[in-house]
Assembly symmetry: C2
Homo-oligomer: 273 residues x 2
């Protein structure tokens, strides 16, 4: 059986001491370099494959220092502090630059934690939206390859049909999952948190260059809860809070179809003009 | 003239090559170790003092690996990638442990950026609240020292008066500033983003042990805009989105009194029970 295209894309070969090698996947190509979500998932995958790992991901921050060049990259994942219930990881992705020297293309940090059964409650109920079966798929022709890896059913705030510069709010809600079914897991969730197109396109109905600079995911669900989602849909919601001098922030929430908040996520995004 | 107590607390001595030494300040002591906000400000201060710095802070992520012990610490701040408009920093705080070896107590990443004048808009208008002059100061006796460093005027969602286990929502809004006036700057703003008491205390009216594991600040304001705030009040708003298996997340927004969104901030917080 051939591995799922997502698993092929995040595949890493361990060479010991927290060093891994991987390669970009044409299937997840973005305008320049790979889809940020697949890079975030790859970073997380390095930690999940590390033999010293304790617990499950709680927090993931990925800083995109430069677009990855097509081809090979190296990942270093180091546990710098292990406590009774949390473990702190420092991760870097490097590539050999034109000069022949290693260049840092991603820095990241991951916190993993032993989750205990405690008093728990969701304070962000899933918005009332039509079910995935009631929403037509997103069918616009896509200029980039990675979009075709996802099934998307936009509920509101989809990419503008006409780039007429009319301002609107920046809220998007959509059902999403892998186009070729794949059981949801932690790496899959990290990637989904970056699926939203740039808020500035929606807010201004103007297609300006934009790219994520830093993103963070706080995992509320563990592997067991994600397994319950299986091949099901995930409802994603994203909105911006401020656009200022070339950068905007995005606050995102992702729920299972049964209404459990799976993660919250934030990012700060560069935009031109 | 003696330096402000905040500036004393975040003071660092550079020894070259991105290495700095500092010491915890009793004035910002928390239950165990220092107030997380002062540590976040110290991390940022190392980057701001680095001779290679380009641009202004855009993003700051601080992972609290362990409580800092009272006394000396070392900060390492390294620019790992410098682009045309962004610069990526990796920061670590270490202390000499009981065994005599250096132990990592904080990992952090900072992105600085050259901000350009672009189309800009705030999508999170400041909530309509009474002015600071109309709100009585928070006068409850505080068990920890750092709280006395801030003037706080809670508008809604203050620390419960009675710990009766009654659940409520987790929203707090308060006016805040340094108790001894200090002109707002980037380090001061980073610290203010962590002033909110643990959301679990408000949500459950139950005082359980809690501590920030990771926090991120996205700066919408630069030094010039913060200078306009001067000694003025900042309106802070914080709420949790989910409490799950020992950890909750917090989404926070901070506005100037004139209604400009200064930063958005997020954190994930450990809680017991």
């Amino acid at each position: 059986m051939t591995a799922h295209v997502f698993d092929q894309a995040i595949e890493l070969t361990a060479s010991g001491d927290g060093q891994f090698s991987g390669a970009t996947s044409p299937a997840y190509a973005n305008m320049v370099g790979p889809f940020g979500g697949i890079t975030a998932a790859t970073v997380l995958n390095a930690v999940l494959q590390h033999p010293a790992l304790l617990g499950e991901p709680l927090s993931l921050t990925v800083n995109f220092c430069a677009a990855l060049a097509d081809g090979a990259f190296a990942v270093s994942a180091q546990p710098v502090r292990t406590n009774r219930s949390t473990q702190h990881w420092v991760v870097a992705v490097t590539q050999t630059g034109a000069s022949g020297e290693d260049e840092t293309v991603v820095t990241a940090s991951v916190v993993t934690a032993a989750r205990r059964s405690t008093w728990s409650v969701d304070d962000e109920p899933m918005p009332v939206v039509p079910s995935p079966a009631e929403v037509p798929p997103y069918a616009a022709p896509s200029p980039v390859e990675w979009i075709r890896r996802y099934a998307m059913r936009p509920v509101e705030g989809q990419i503008p049909h006409t780039w007429d510069g009319r301002t609107s709010d920046s809220l998007t809600r959509l059902w999403m999952r892998d186009a070729v079914p794949r059981a949801l897991d932690l790496c899959g969730l990290a990637a989904l948190a970056d699926v939203f197109f740039p808020r500035i396109w929606l807010r201004r109905a103007t297609r300006v260059p934009a790219g994520t600079v830093s993103m963070t995911v706080y995992f509320h669900a563990g592997a067991a809860q994600l397994a319950e989602v299986g091949h099901g849909w995930v409802l994603g919601q994203a909105r911006a809070q401020a656009f200022r001098n070339g950068f905007f922030d995005q606050a995102a929430l992702l729920w299972s179809e049964t209404g459990h908040l799976l993660c919250s996520s934030h990012q700060v995004v560069y935009y031109k003009e």
